[in-house]
């Protein structure tokens, strides 16, 4: 696998509900994208929850823990930081997070090439 990163077009901004998330399929991978309205900030992470390996994080609830944006899985409410991907319930798994940028109404996610 190459370590080169590329920006991949992922969705239109209006595809991602305000203060919520949606899932995109990029190079066969499910990636959850979230939009925090108050900061007008976008975040992306793997859709796969590492707790029981369920591809559902985009359908979780967005929020923050002492200012750190996070997503809580809809199945058993495990939370992950959207800044670091770390589990916030003190468990030792994490999800992959990806940089997101917005350009001209489109969202791009930075992925490893290939």
């Amino acid at each position: 696998m190459s370590l080169n990163k590329v920006w991949v077009e992922a969705a239109k901004t209006e595809d991602i509900p305000e203060d919520g998330g949606a899932c995109v399929l990029l190079n066969g991978k499910q990636i959850a994208i979230f939009h925090l309205k108050s900061k007008d900030q976008w975040y992306a992470c793997d859709n796969l929850c590492k707790h029981k390996m369920q591809s559902v994080l985009s359908r979780g609830i967005l929020g923050d823990h002492h200012g750190e944006p996070k997503i809580a899985c809809p199945l058993h409410k495990k939370s992950y930081s959207l800044l670091t991907g770390k589990n916030l319930n003190g468990e030792d798994y994490a999800v992959e997070i990806y940089p997101v940028k917005m350009e001209g109404g489109l969202l791009y996610v930075e992925l490893a090439e290939g």
């Binding site: 969705a11 995109v24 108050s38 007008d40 900030q41 929020g63």
Partner: protein, 844 residues
């Protein structure tokens, strides 16, 4: 103007911007506000809108979204609003204003709320095409239109607003440059180090920043094409946006001979009276103690003071708060108080992490005791805490650096200065509050409010009041009530009260006024349930605060698939209905199982199938069973007197009537019921939240039973009721539960904590000891009348349906969920991959 009442005085407001609007709002709320005819002249063609959020207009917000109140609001409140009609002249002797279209109105009191306009530096070429301001909807329309097919944008001014405008231009697809004359960005708020950190961050957003540059000319052939600087350098530019500060709109005031400040702004005293006592000035046009505030909060505070003065109150304006946060994507910048060097600042403490891009600085008084101000770049997580310490003059720890480095420690609110103002609206100090609690032995925030008036204004100090209450209780060793979560310092009851009294219908609104942070998986669904409990609005209206089950109106299960449970009232179903169920299951490949609640559960539905399944079920007359909701589940029935030779009443019909009445209503938790046709109790009514058992004379009503985790036998509330009384009691009981139980508390758990137990319930529900039965019945009738099957509505709504897709960027279906076959039906592969039984066939 025929709409004016002759027995009232005339109050004329010039300007219908944010602050002018706020004054209208405050006045009509105040007692005595009705002694005025309120006449507002606005220069802009539309009613006041949220200028603070103006930039969001470029990213999709509409004028309606931004409008503070629709025209109908002004009409309803009897306010005469003249739009697109600026005041051109004032005759102070005759006390009349004359509008641009010649309307002449007499005033008893006059208020200037004319705001400000962008300051345009006196440079050659600023009148060229392609040079824009950034203040109104029209400005933004013009920018959007002009920027099409353009490449390069330049923003003049690197302050809060300039940076916001620059980001908007980037989002419009332009290469954007910001020019700042000072050697640093946001010169009013930042020092050099903070500015450097911010500059790095902005450059990562592809913003080009030029500091220490003075503009000399906007050049070009007709339209702007290039800008040139005093140092001889130049930059290509297709579009220029000027954001170089503000200029109060005091021109009319000057014309009419009112005193203005040398730097601009109508001179006002602490009552916001100008040099003419009949004329006030508020908002960005007022110059108070040498300050013109370019922020909305001080303007709102001024509106409150004038509203109070005009209605006989005694408030004064003592100066406003300058704290702000930059509203920029991904960039945390916040400042409060005296953030840069001033005479008072003699000690500053900084923290810098250049790898993370974090810079924090606090300014501390000479004796090290008080926070004077500060700035946070890259991480504004400490902002609320610091702002609080600053505003309330909290005595700092011996090493104030702890405030910005390392883990924050919890401060005790009782360490605040006695003189610290807790409620700014009513000017109530910490001492007043503690004193009121102790002398009157108060036990809740409501008590503090009625004794001190604290918290009765904007309500923003509610969290602090609660904190004081709790701290005092804790000091006395009393137990302290549980607040919802880190985002809301209130209990469920308090929040429900707030939602009702302040008519709050949206989570964001509640959070803005009574909460903090973004919310989380605890408060969002809890408040969603409170809002729908109070208003019974469609649950779908605020999807993103709902658990996924409420958002997609189905229970999420293994592999992210969903289950579907249609209602089968009383477990009674026609053969045709049964066939439809079978056909639907077959068509969508669903697993079928009868539940213990006398109805069918389909499992394994994919997200995108849900609307189709419900469309098919709906056509055959099936409604949502709300298996996903904290709401009415099934009302279980036995056979009853129709068929069963023991039966003494028709339990099936009763069951159906009950389920029909309460279906769809949201409760603090799920609610189950059952009706048995005789004392043999085949429907297990005594294990339900409310259960009914038929007697020879009528019905016995049992409440607060439970199966589940901690079984509880229901208590008998009333005996031998006729049908009408039975429904009355059920209405009262259920509504009382909605109003008083904590989120996610079943009736049985609620009951265990209810002081007085069943006797209390009998008192409230049968003897009306609280005098609320009428209201409980009315409230229940209201939500019953507003009931609807949400799935029936959803399937008709193509926009709603479009949410039910696995991927927003691709038509593919989610293939991660895997199934096996078991006993002729599909079942999902277990969590634990090793458990896959190899001999089973995989089905799709």
């Amino acid at each position: 103007m025929s709409e004016l009442k002759s027995d009232r005085k005339n109050l004329v407001i010039i300007g219908n911007g944010m602050v002018g609007y706020k004054l209208c709002e405050k006045l009509i709320e105040k007692e005595g506000g009705d002694k005025y005819n309120i006449i507002v002249f606005g220069e802009e063609p539309r009613p006041a809108y949220d200028r603070v959020q103006l930039t969001s207009y470029l990213s999709g917000k509409t004028v309606e979204d931004l409008t503070l109140a629709p025209l109908t609001w002004y009409e309803e409140k009897g306010i005469v609003l003249k739009l697109g009609e600026p005041i051109a002249e004032i005759n102070r002797e005759k006390q009349t204003v004359i509008s641009s279209s010649g309307n002449r109105v007499h005033y008893d009191k006059l208020v200037f709320a004319t705001g400000s306009s962008p300051f345009v530096p006196p440079i050659n070429g600023v009148d060229r095409d392609g040079v824009f301001l950034y203040r109104t909807i029209e400005d933004l329309d013009a920018i959007r239109q002009y920027s099409e097919n353009k490449k390069k944008a330049v923003v003049i001014g690197g302050g809060l607003l300039g940076l916001e405008a620059a980001k908007a231009l980037i989002d419009l697809g332009l290469e954007t440059h910001v020019i700042e004359m000072a050697p640093r960005l946001m010169p009013r708020q930042l020092d050099v180090a903070g500015s450097q950190m911010l500059k790095d961050k902005l450059q990562n957003l592809d913003l080009n920043i030029h500091l220490d540059k003075r503009l000399s000319v906007c050049d070009g052939n007709g339209k702007v094409e290039q800008i040139r600087f005093e140092d001889g350098s130049s930059l290509e530019a297709d579009i220029v946006v000027i954001s170089a500060g503000i200029k109060p709109r005091d021109e009319l005031a000057k014309l009419s001979g009112l005193k203005t400040a040398p730097q601009g702004g109508i001179l006002v005293d602490d009552l916001l009276q100008s040099s003419d006592p009949n004329i006030y000035a508020i908002g960005e046009v007022a110059s108070h103690r040498d300050m013109v505030y370019g922020l909305v909060a001080p303007g709102y505070a001024m509106a409150e003071v004038v509203a109070s003065c005009l209605t006989g109150g005694k408030k004064t304006f003592e100066g406003g708060d300058l704290s702000t946060k930059l509203k920029l994507v991904g960039i945390d910048v916040a400042s409060f108080g005296e953030s840069v060097e001033t005479v008072r600042v003699s000690r500053m403490i900084t923290f810098e992490d250049s790898v993370k891009g974090v810079y924090k600085r606090i300014n501390v008084s000479g004796d090290g005791r008080y926070l004077l101000g500060g700035v946070l770049v890259g991480d504004s997580g400490d902002y609320n805490r610091l702002l609080h310490a600053y505003k309330n003059e909290v005595i700092l720890p011996p090493d104030p650096g702890e405030l910005i480095v390392g883990k924050s420690q919890k401060e005790n609110i009782l360490d605040l200065h006695d003189s610290a103002v807790i409620c700014a609206c009513e000017n109530v100090t910490k001492f007043d509050i503690v004193n009121a609690i102790e002398t009157n032995n108060l036990s809740d925030v409501a008590g503090i409010k009625s004794c001190t008036k604290a918290g009765t204004g904007c309500g923003g100090c509610g969290g602090l009041l609660l904190e004081i209450m709790d701290a005092i209780k804790e000091k006395k060793g009393e137990s302290v009530k549980r607040v919802l979560c880190e985002h809301f310092a209130y209990t469920r009851q308090e929040l429900i009260h707030i939602i009702k009294v302040h008519e709050i219908r949206a989570f964001d609104e509640l959070k803005a006024k009574y909460g903090m942070g973004e919310g989380c998986e605890v408060c969002k669904p809890a408040i969603a349930s409170m809002l729908s409990g109070v208003w019974n609005d469609k649950v779908m209206d605020q999807q993103m605060i709902q658990d996924t089950n409420d958002r997609f109106l189905a229970n999420i299960q293994m592999g992210g698939t969903y289950s579907v449970v249609p209602r089968v009232l009383g477990g009674e179903i026609t053969p045709e209905g049964l066939i439809v169920l079978g056909e639907v299951a077959k068509k969508y490949g669903l697993y079928c199982k009868f539940t213990g609640g006398q109805r069918m559960d389909f499992f394994g539905a994919r997200l995108e199938q849900l609307p189709h399944i419900w469309e098919d079920l709906g056509k055959a007359g099936f409604e949502s069973g709300h298996a996903y909701a904290r709401g009415m589940r099934t009302v279980k029935s036995c056979a009853g007197s129709t068929w069963c030779h023991f039966g003494v009443q028709d339990s099936v019909s009763m069951c159906i009537d009950i389920e029909k009445r309460y279906k769809g209503i949201r409760f603090p938790h799920k609610v189950k019921s059952a009706v048995s046709g005789c004392v043999r109790e085949c429907a297990e009514a005594q294990s339900k939240d409310f259960g009914i058992i038929a007697t020879e004379k009528g019905w016995n009503l049992f409440v607060c039973g439970n199966g589940g985790i901690k079984p509880r036998h229901a208590d008998l509330l009333a005996t031998d009721l006729d049908t009408e009384t039975l429904f009355k009691y059920m209405d009262r009981f259920l509504m009382y539960y909605i109003k008083t139980a904590a989120h996610l508390t079943r009736t049985s758990t609620w009951f265990e904590k209810l002081e007085g137990g069943i006797d209390h319930l009998k008192d409230v529900i049968i003897h009306d000891s609280l005098g609320i039965c009428d209201q409980l019945e009315k409230d229940m009738q209201y939500i019953v009348d507003n009931n609807h099957c949400e799935w029936a509505e959803l399937v008709k709504d193509s926009e709603e349906r479009s949410r039910f897709v696995p991927f927003v960027n691709s038509p593919e279906t989610d293939s991660t969920a895997e199934f096996l076959e078991e006993r002729g039906q599909k079942v999902p592969v277990a969590w634990d991959q090793e458990e896959i039984k190899k001999d089973k066939v995989l089905v799709s």
